[in-house]
């Protein structure tokens, strides 16, 4: 999809020095500011365990779901932490460097809220009633199938791991611009900051559980809002013609002509872009709340309507994301062209850090980089907790040690959260960043395949459990194979990447191009429906549904709900 941008912008439309990477040595001021904020949140992360200390800290619902006690404010921050991560900060503007298609993040985050409004309250209710900690718990209980729970858990862990790894890529992009870890330094010196960051992250997640990212999210969001507000008000004043000037400069090619696909999608390369744009927005929105880390943000709330009540407020995140995306155009307009004069190769992922470095005084650029780095810690912590819960509940308890106590489950989850994080670290250090990105894009395709079992299962138990597993496997296999076949081409037709080069592929049997995940989902649904009819005709055992109709509308205060590990009214007030 994205063509690598190779041309330099024309005559300077602003007084900003050309954003570049590796053109200076280590910027001491930036580094000091970043280190300061990093230390601050590390301390907060450890203190979070003491914050309204739980009486039974060693319980999975306590460590992994914050005791299901979070009120509106914490939820707002926590879900924001899920929604945009350090990688979003880096990747969304980088996508805009390739043209207006990258703006799909905005329609995606618009329609995610109506989707949430529809189904998440039901998931909250049934999970509260039956003590489900993960989405796989729900699928297992609903369809009476440990196998289905296992399949969804495996997909969840596989999709989440590279996402954690990508948080490191976000930190790395900032470190590159600060000037740490270029070609000159040894591998050890280059990777050391990442290693320290993740060790600290692992330690406070281990001790504080979900409370740590909930507390740090406050600092993270404050920094991000500060940086974005300053950026969108201040940076346009540095361009002749303000926003108009930015759009004009960003969309004008080296020959002085307007590049197609920059001011709107337009159609180019013989491809209609509207359908891919709509499907990738829809598919991403449907996939977001299939991710275990996003569901944690919902399950940890104290009542059915906490999230629904918050939806209007959560839209603020979508607005900020739109503005973050436009930083990509600001970088283009300021002359960022993806080709560094220094020792680092050109890479659109450096667009935003390089822009901040060029346009802000060093101390404020440091604040901006700190926002990105801390933005990495919050989602990485939530994701590792989510992946650990999946392993504990749907693999360890279901298949290895069915009689594990709540205490043993919590211990197992804590331990696995360490493994998950170091796995992610090894992933980034062992493979290159491009592989991490490819796997993350693939993760979106995979996780969407759990949609029929979970979302449709919340409304109707019509599908057969084995048909759901077969559909899930079909969707996953199709998605992986098709994604693997996609080549990435440069503007002049050279092959830049042989596999996983695009998220958009031709829909078999049509002339349409669509997001691979959506095509795979359609295939998944067809298989599920057909096999459901077949299995039912063959009278294959259906399994027992342990949920009842009214469980899906249970609410806080109902008399028949199981007790929580401990009540924390003070925390719930937030």
């Amino acid at each position: 999809m994205s063509t690598i941008f190779t041309a330099a912008a024309p005559a300077a439309p602003s007084d900003i020095p050309t954003p570049d990477v590796g053109s200076h040595g280590i910027n001491q001021t930036e580094l000091v500011v970043v280190v300061f904020f990093f230390l601050l949140v590390s301390v907060l992360g450890f203190l979070a365990a003491r914050w309204r200390r739980a009486r039974q800290a060693n319980h999975l619902e306590e460590w992994g779901l914050g005791g299901r006690s979070f009120g509106g404010w914490i939820t707002w921050f926590l879900l924001g932490g899920d929604l945009y991560t350090a990688y979003t900060f880096i990747a969304v503007p980088a996508a805009l460097v390739g043209g207006a298609f990258g703006f799909f993040a905005v329609p995606y985050t618009i329609i995610v809220w109506p989707l949430v409004f529809l189904f998440l309250p039901r998931l909250w209710s049934v999970s509260r009633k039956h003590g489900y900690v993960t989405p796989s718990d729900f699928a297992r209980g609903r369809y009476g199938s440990k196998g289905l729970g296992l399949a969804i858990a495996v997909v969840g862990v596989v999709a989440t791991m590279p996402y954690i790894a990508l948080q490191l890529v976000g930190i790395q992009a900032c470190l590159d611009v600060i000037g740490i870890g270029g070609k000159g330094s040894s591998t050890f010196a280059k990777d050391l900051p990442l290693f320290i960051a993740f060790a600290v992250l692992a330690a406070f997640t281990y001790t504080s559980g979900l409370r740590a990212p909930a507390v740090i999210a406050f600092v993270k969001d404050f920094l991000i809002y500060l940086v974005i507000i300053v950026a969108v008000i201040y940076i346009p004043t540095r361009f002749t013609g303000g926003w108009h000037g930015i759009f004009h400069a960003a969309s004008t090619g080296p020959t002085g002509k307007t590049k197609p696909g920059f001011l709107s999608l337009n159609d180019h390369n013989g491809k209609a872009n509207a359908f891919p744009y709509a499907t990738i927005a829809l598919g991403s929105a449907m996939a977001l709340f299939m991710y275990p880390h996003a569901q944690i943000g919902v399950l940890s709330t104290k009542s059915r309507n906490t999230v629904r009540k918050n939806l209007a407020g959560l839209s603020v995140y979508s607005l900020v994301l739109g503005l973050i995306a436009l930083l990509g155009y600001m970088a283009l307009a300021a002359g960022f062209n993806g080709t560094a004069t220094g020792h680092l190769d050109g890479n659109p992922q450096h667009a935003v850090p390089a822009l901040f470095d060029a346009v802000f005084p060093s101390w404020f650029a440091g604040v901006a980089f700190a926002a990105v780095a801390i933005g990495a810690l919050v989602p990485a912590a939530i994701m590792s907790i989510a992946a650990a819960n999946l392993f504990t509940r749907n693999i360890y308890v279901d298949f290895i040690k069915p009689d594990a106590t709540a205490h043993q489950q919590a211990q197992m989850s804590k331990f696995v959260s360490l493994l998950v994080k170091f796995g992610a670290l090894a992933f980034v250090l062992g493979l290159d960043a491009t592989s991490a990105i490819n796997f993350q894009l693939l993760g979106g395709v995979l996780i969407l395949q759990t949609f029929p079992a979970i979302v449709i299962g919340l409304f109707k138990r019509w599908f057969h459990r084995w048909a759901l597993i077969a559909g899930l496997v079909t969707g996953v296999v199709y998605g992986v194979v098709v994604a693997w076949q996609q080549k990435k081409l440069s503007a002049d037709g050279k092959v830049l990447q042989n596999h996983f080069g695009a998220q958009i592929a031709k829909v078999p049997g049509t002339h349409l191009y669509a997001y691979i995940a959506i095509t795979a989902l359609v295939l998944n649904l067809i298989v599920t429906v057909v096999l459901t009819v077949v299995f039912r005709a063959l009278k294959v055992a259906e399994g027992v549904d342990e949920t009842q109709a009214h469980d899906y509308t249970a609410d806080d205060g109902d008399t028949d709900l199981p007790d929580l590990v401990q009540a924390e009214p003070a925390l719930a007030e937030l």
Binding site: A100, V106, F119, A274, L326, F459, Y552, T553, G557, T559
Partner: protein
């Protein structure tokens, strides 16, 4: 089946739910039907149409979500109050037909099919 349950049956399409359904559906139409906004002109505050239309819908969707929550919650509370103070737990109302997904917006009706 109690008197109460019978009285709520068939009220799948209440005005509040219709309003909530519209609030939920509108954003999908506005941003997924791309031809509406896939153009440069007219500019607003320096933003091409393509960009400001989508950013505008962020704000509009926020408003719609607020409205949907408000009407649904109000109906929910009104129904709870009407059904008497003793009725805290949710009744086991069973619907034969699966109504519009938005019907879930209400906590008093469970729309499980009787297939299982």
């Amino acid at each position: 089946m109690s008197e109460y349950e019978r009285s709520t049956r068939g009220q799948v399409l209440t005005p509040a739910r219709i309003i909530a359904a519209i609030c939920v559906i509108l954003p999908f139409v506005a941003v997924l039907y791309v031809p509406i906004y896939d153009k440069d002109e007219s500019e607003l505050g320096g933003f091409p149409f393509f960009f400001w239309w989508q950013l505008l819908w962020v704000a509009v969707t926020a408003g719609l979500m607020g409205l949907a929550y408000y009407v649904v919650r109000r109906e929910e509370l009104a129904r709870k109050a009407a059904s008497g103070a003793g009725n805290v737990a949710v009744p086991d109302a069973v619907q034969d037909t699966a109504p519009d997904a938005v019907a879930d917006a209400d906590t008093q009706n469970a729309e499980e099919g009787d297939a299982e």
